[in-house]
């Protein structure tokens, strides 16, 4: 017997015939596609948004790696691994305007801090100002609107000194730029000043740090970069280097949980979809009761009947999944510009979301959910089709 190696010609023929003749199967295809499309879309958005937010934190707040406490101006790095290493001086301050106050991280950065990759994450508004002997500060759009100030206005900074023996002192600065990253949650706690000026505000050695931006190819291998840094820089210890997620544990954990939640929801939807395909399969054999009896009468084995029904349903399922993924990706790309337009409107209710992000297809997750859906639905279809065993040719004579 070598019958199992090739699919029987009639099995193939009948399977194909069913796919093209049965409206129900085409309905199934469309439904699966319509289930898959929003799932894929949701996946694209959540993953892209999380990646986008992560990048905002990395490029504007922490770097991929942060070396704490030391101003390493002359950090020795491997150019293949490290794109930029910027020394910054930062500390917390209360900012007062005439109408409101806000607590901010004041980051002192050098003039080359806002390189191309950082400028792709944030946009600045400036206007020409009269020269002044006040130092400048860049506030976020969110902070500026909260404080009711605009470019050229003055605000007072109240620095909480690291040294308890000194009393807090206010300094006056002028708003010279307003920036906007698209993610208000981060924006509303950040501000930038000149690094040399920051040194005069935050004198403790723990205020200094180095933000390291790593080349794309090393993002998944930060440990290698850390090891290399430690090797190349005498006196640098592992303890002083932290990664972005170590630095923002709660934000990072939120992301992990929301990714898991999304996957769980997707899995539930997939289970429902698998039930649906198995009920389509059941309905199909219910409808095909007579042809199945006839096929068995003229000598088709039950295993062949089952295989043929299986091929019909599962190929439709696979086609639906593929179509749904295509549709989801299409919608994902299409909606990107719409959302970024929304983000520019600056709606308050959307401030927790990053709307202006690069749509990036999370192939791994898309693959994972499609494989899950395929495996689960084909398995449930196969099991549902076990019922063909009970359809015998004698049915034709006893129930007619």
């Amino acid at each position: 017997m070598n019958g199992s190696a090739v699919v029987n010609p009639f099995v193939k023929f009948w399977s194909a015939k069913r796919i093209f003749k049965k409206g129900r199967l085409l309905g199934c295809l469309v439904l699966i596609a319509f289930v898959m499309a929003p799932l894929v879309c949701a996946l694209i958005f959540s993953e892209s948004m999380i990646a986008g937010i992560t990048n905002k934190y990395i490029y504007l707040s922490d770097g991929h790696l942060q070396i704490q406490g030391v101003a390493y101006d002359g950090l020795v790095t491997d150019d293949a691994m490290v794109l930029h290493a910027d020394s910054v001086v930062s500390g917390y301050a209360l900012v007062y305007s005439s109408s409101s106050t806000s607590s901010l991280l004041v980051k002192g950065v050098s003039s080359d801090y806002f390189n191309e990759s950082r400028l792709s994450q944030v946009s600045f508004e400036t206007t020409d100002l009269e020269p002044s002997n006040l130092k400048g500060i860049a506030l976020s759009r969110a902070t500026a609107s909260k404080l009711g100030v605009s470019i050229g206005d003055r605000v007072a900074l109240m620095i909480v000194p690291d040294d308890a023996s000194r009393s807090p002192r206010p300094v006056l600065v002028r708003v010279e730029a307003i920036f906007h990253s698209g993610y208000d949650q981060l924006d509303s706690m950040l501000s930038f000043v000149d690094r040399e000026y920051a040194r005069t505000l935050f004198t403790s050695s723990s205020s200094a740090s180095v933000e390291v931006l790593v080349d794309d190819t090393y993002i998944e291998r930060l440990d290698d970069v850390i090891a290399d840094l430690v090797l190349k820089n005498e006196g640098l210890s592992l303890r002083e280097i932290s990664t972005w997620n170590e630095h923002n544990v709660s934000v990072y954990n939120n992301f992990v949980t929301s990714k898991q939640m999304i996957l769980i929801i997707l899995l539930i939807v997939i289970i429902v979809a698998a039930f649906y395909t198995s009920s389509v399969a059941q309905q199909m054999i219910q409808d095909d009761m007579k042809p199945i009896s006839i096929a068995k009468l003229i000598g088709m084995a039950d295993s062949q009947v089952r295989l043929s029904a299986f091929i019909s349903v599962s190929s439709v399922t696979v086609a639906g999944i593929v179509l749904g993924i295509g549709l989801g990706i299409g919608i994902g790309y299409g909606l990107g510009p719409v959302l970024s337009a929304l983000s520019n409107k600056g709606l308050q209710s959307l401030s927790f979301y990053l709307l202006d992000f690069v749509v990036d297809i999370p192939w791994k997750s898309v693959l994972l959910i499609s494989v899950c859906l395929m495996v689960l639905s084909t398995a449930s279809v196969w099991i549902a089709l076990g019922k063909t065993r009970r359809i015998t040719p004698m049915r034709l004579f006893t129930s007619l």
């Binding site: 019958g3 010609p9 006839i294 003229i298 000598g299 088709m300 015998t392």
Partner: protein
């Protein structure tokens, strides 16, 4: 070697000699049905029935409606199982085979024709006729010539691409005959094949069936209540009181 023989023969293990001179044997068949749903009591339809179908001969079973003719044919064709007794198809007991082999045995050795034509509604005339050969593992291309020539022979040369719903009762029944003959089976089993047709069509189908069975050298097991039709067969049995009695021909001892 002719591809038909090779491909059909290779499709399954075939321990059954094509030349077995008694393609169907019923030995000591008894069939009882439950009298009611709840299982109380039984009615006997067949009791200790023996029947032998000889190669190339035609055998008719006559009897009153409800006497058990169809039941006998279903058992002979391996569709239903007897309460006791054995059915041998080319010497192989149906009861000893699994679904796959039993199906294959039926596919290769028995062609069925019923009162209701039982065609596949979504398949064209040609596809219906090719179906048994494709189930046996032959490609459509491979078996199309024989299917076409059978359809031609039964005057359906211009109906090959019609669906059953587009054909008359007589035409459908002729397609069923083509399908039954497609795999060159040893036995054609026909249960009231003309029962649903008007007089003219019935005679036409009757004639074609008997002629083709002779031409192709097949055995025929015909169940009918039409005595004229029955008496054109080599052997005629009457089914009465759960048993068969020979009315015409020599019969064959089991």
């Amino acid at each position: 070697m002719h591809p038909t023989d090779r491909q059909i023969g290779d499709h399954i293990d075939r321990p059954f000699a094509k030349q077995f001179d008694r393609p169907i044997q019923l030995l000591d068949i008894t069939k009882r049905f439950k009298a009611a749903q709840d299982g109380e009591g039984e009615i006997t339809i067949l009791e200790d029935v023996d029947l032998c179908i000889a190669r190339g001969e035609s055998t008719a079973i006559i009897g009153k409606s409800g006497s058990g003719k169809s039941t006998l044919l279903h058992i002979a064709g391996g569709l239903d199982s007897p309460t006791s007794g054995k059915v041998l198809c080319n010497g192989v007991d149906f009861a000893t085979l699994d679904d796959k082999r039993r199906s294959s045995l039926r596919n290769l050795h028995i062609g069925f024709i019923f009162q209701a034509n039982l065609l596949l509604e979504d398949f064209t005339a040609l596809e219906n006729v090719m179906a048994p050969a494709m189930i046996a593992g032959r490609t459509a291309r491979d078996c199309r010539p024989r299917a076409l020539s059978l359809l031609e022979r039964l005057g359906l040369g211009d109906r090959t691409h019609h669906l059953p719903s587009q054909l008359s009762g007589g035409e459908k029944q002729r397609i069923a005959i083509c399908r039954a003959l497609m795999n060159e089976p040893d036995v054609i089993m026909a249960d009231e094949p003309t029962g649903a047709l008007d007089e003219e069509n019935a005679q036409e189908v009757e004639r074609l069936l008997l002629d083709l069975v002779k031409e192709e050298g097949r055995s025929l097991l015909l169940v009918t209540h039409n005595n004229d039709f029955a008496y054109r067969c080599d052997n005629v049995y009457l089914l009465k009181n759960h048993a068969l009695s020979l009315e015409k021909g020599l019969g064959l001892d089991v």
